[in-house]
């Protein structure tokens, strides 16, 4: 029931249209007032003075920001590199025929999904005394890897039963059925969800800020708390936030694009249904069993 098809309300007549227009103008006015207030406060608190924006022309400050951005991307890269195999391994474990392996994998996956990510990062950082980068990556890999394991598992289980049966009927072995038939189909169907989970990982690299990892926010804070630059906190936010949010948006859009593309693709027909893209906050798509 989308707005376009709109089963929720009649096609508005002239009077309803006029009323909607009034509401629309009122809403616009409110939003404009809100934006106006923010802009007024920005000028009122002197956020656009040259002194606050000058530091961004300095080579050192630019380098600092770029290094921060690089460190954020590095943590993200390591996370992707380790979390995908971790997820694949534990998904295979949860789908295993051997009860002990299955139990162990279930325990690990459920535990790391239930724990707050920050608790794990702090545990690795404070208790195991690991460097900030690796503490951050360890926490991210354990959490996102566990969620990805569930995504992979849901994907494999969503492949229609006939595929598996046909493969067995052709005389394939368990591993062959998995690697040649189920996993390729599952990966394509799950690709939007996998990329969406990577958005979550990219967002969560900012937790490194809390364990003094020298990432993007950390660089921003260094500049923002510098008295020589007249404490340019708001300008720093205006530079950092669009870049950070933009990176996440790009990745989200990639997930949506992949979703639409594979929905259209004729080679996906009859296979596992393509999952929806969208930044997850709660559970991954449920595995039906």
């Amino acid at each position: 029931m989308t707005v376009e098809s709109s089963a929720l309300y009649d096609i508005p007549g002239p009077r309803a249209l006029a009323r909607h227009r009034t509401y629309g103008w009122m809403a616009l006015l409110l939003i404009a007032a809100l934006i106006g207030w923010v802009v007024y406060m920005l000028f009122h608190t002197h956020q656009f003075t040259a002194a606050k924006w000058e530091p961004f022309q300095y080579r050192g400050v630019q380098d600092l920001l770029l290094r921060g951005l690089g460190n954020t991307l590095r943590a993200f890269g390591w996370t992707v590199l380790f979390a995908l195999p971790f997820g694949a391994l534990f998904a295979a474990g949860r789908l295993s025929d051997h009860r002990v392996v299955r139990w162990f994998a279930t325990l690990v996956v459920e535990f790391f999904r239930a724990m707050p990510l920050l608790v794990m990062i702090f545990f690795v950082f404070v208790a195991l005394k690991v460097q900030p980068l690796w503490a951050l990556v360890a926490g991210l890999v354990l959490y996102n890897g566990s969620v990805l394991a569930e995504v992979f598992r849901a994907g494999v289980l969503a492949v229609p039963k006939g595929q598996r049966e046909a493969a067995y009927a052709l005389g394939m072995r368990k591993t062959q059925v998995m690697t040649y038939v189920l996993v390729p189909q599952a990966c394509r169907a799950m690709l939007p969800a996998i990329i969406s989970q990577l958005v979550v990982a990219l967002k969560d690299t900012s937790l490194g800020f809390l364990i003094t990892y020298e990432e993007f926010l950390h660089a921003g804070k260094l500049i923002a708390t510098n008295l020589d630059y007249d404490l340019p906190f708001i300008p720093v936010v205006m530079v950092i936030a669009p870049i950070y949010i933009g990176m996440c948006l790009l990745l989200s859009w990639l997930a949506r694009w992949v979703e639409r593309r594979s929905r259209r693709s004729p080679s996906m027909r009859g296979g596992a249904p393509v999952v929806k893209a969208g930044v997850a906050m709660g559970l991954p798509p449920a595995a039906q069993q």
Binding site: M1, T2, V3, S5, S6, A7, L8, Y9, D10, P12, H20, Y23, G24, A27, L28, I31, M41, T45, Q47, A114, M115, P116, L117, L118, V119, F122, F123, V126, A127, V199, L202, K203, D204, T205, S206, L207, F209, L210, L217, G220, K221, A224, F233, I234, V237, I240, A241, Y244, I245, C248, L249, S252, G278, V279, M281, G282, L283
Partner: protein, 214 residues
């Protein structure tokens, strides 16, 4: 065990801090989320655009960045509130985007025929929503909202690093007293598990009570 019994009051304060932070931001996020979901399906275009923007931006904002902006940025606008209120604002707004999306996909699971039937009976948009669509959407929304709220409880740990009393932040106090750091974290983990398991139990119960087969 000694780590827990000796520092019981510290742990208890932190536990209560996390609980209250969770409860207040959950209420804020539910109210905001439902409101924004209403915006997103309403016939008024500016409201729809606003709702879409709100959800798109907040869902792609790292929560730490949001905390950074709210806790350290708002004081620059001469808005000074307790850290607790700032934390609730950040958590509530962030979560509201996810609540809104769950609500919206819940509304989308109601068959269009229901809305059409309500309209053909002469119901207005408000009546269609409140009497026909939302009560049905509510049933399919319970499980996703539950998992969003569990994520909210887990995310509230970030507030501890922004001067709010909560469970994860207790490790500093206890660590300074020289207790075993591993056990300190074990008990913190147990605290979080109690909270998340309790939420999921409550929502399982709710789900079973409202579930319908469709």
């Amino acid at each position: 065990m000694k780590t827990l019994t000796d520092n019981w009051s510290t742990y208890w304060d932190g536990f209560l801090g996390t609980l209250s932070l969770f409860a207040v931001s959950a209420v804020l996020s539910l109210v905001l989320g439902v409101l924004i979901a209403g915006f997103r399906v309403s016939p008024v275009r500016p409201l729809r655009v606003f709702g879409t923007l709100w959800v798109t931006v907040l869902r792609n904002t790292p929560l730490t960045l949001l905390f950074f902006i709210v806790v350290l940025g708002l004081p620059r606008f001469n808005i000074t509130l307790p850290f607790y209120v700032f934390a609730v604002l950040a958590l509530g707004c962030y979560t509201s985007a996810f609540v809104c999306e769950s609500m919206r996909s819940g509304i989308n699971t109601v068959p269009p025929g229901q809305g059409e039937a309500a309209r053909s009976l002469g119901m207005s948009f408000g009546q269609t929503m409140s009497l026909v669509v939302l009560p049905q959407a509510y049933r399919s929304v319970v499980a996703p909202i539950g998992s969003v709220l569990i994520a909210l409880a887990k995310n509230s740990a970030i507030a501890g690093s922004f001067s709010v009393v909560e469970l994860l932040g207790t490790y500093r106090t206890i660590n300074e007293l020289g207790y075993s750091i591993i056990w300190t974290f074990v008990w913190i983990a147990v605290g979080y598990l109690i909270i998340t398991l309790a939420i999921s139990a409550v929502f399982n119960l709710l789900e079973r009570r409202v579930a319908v087969s469709r």
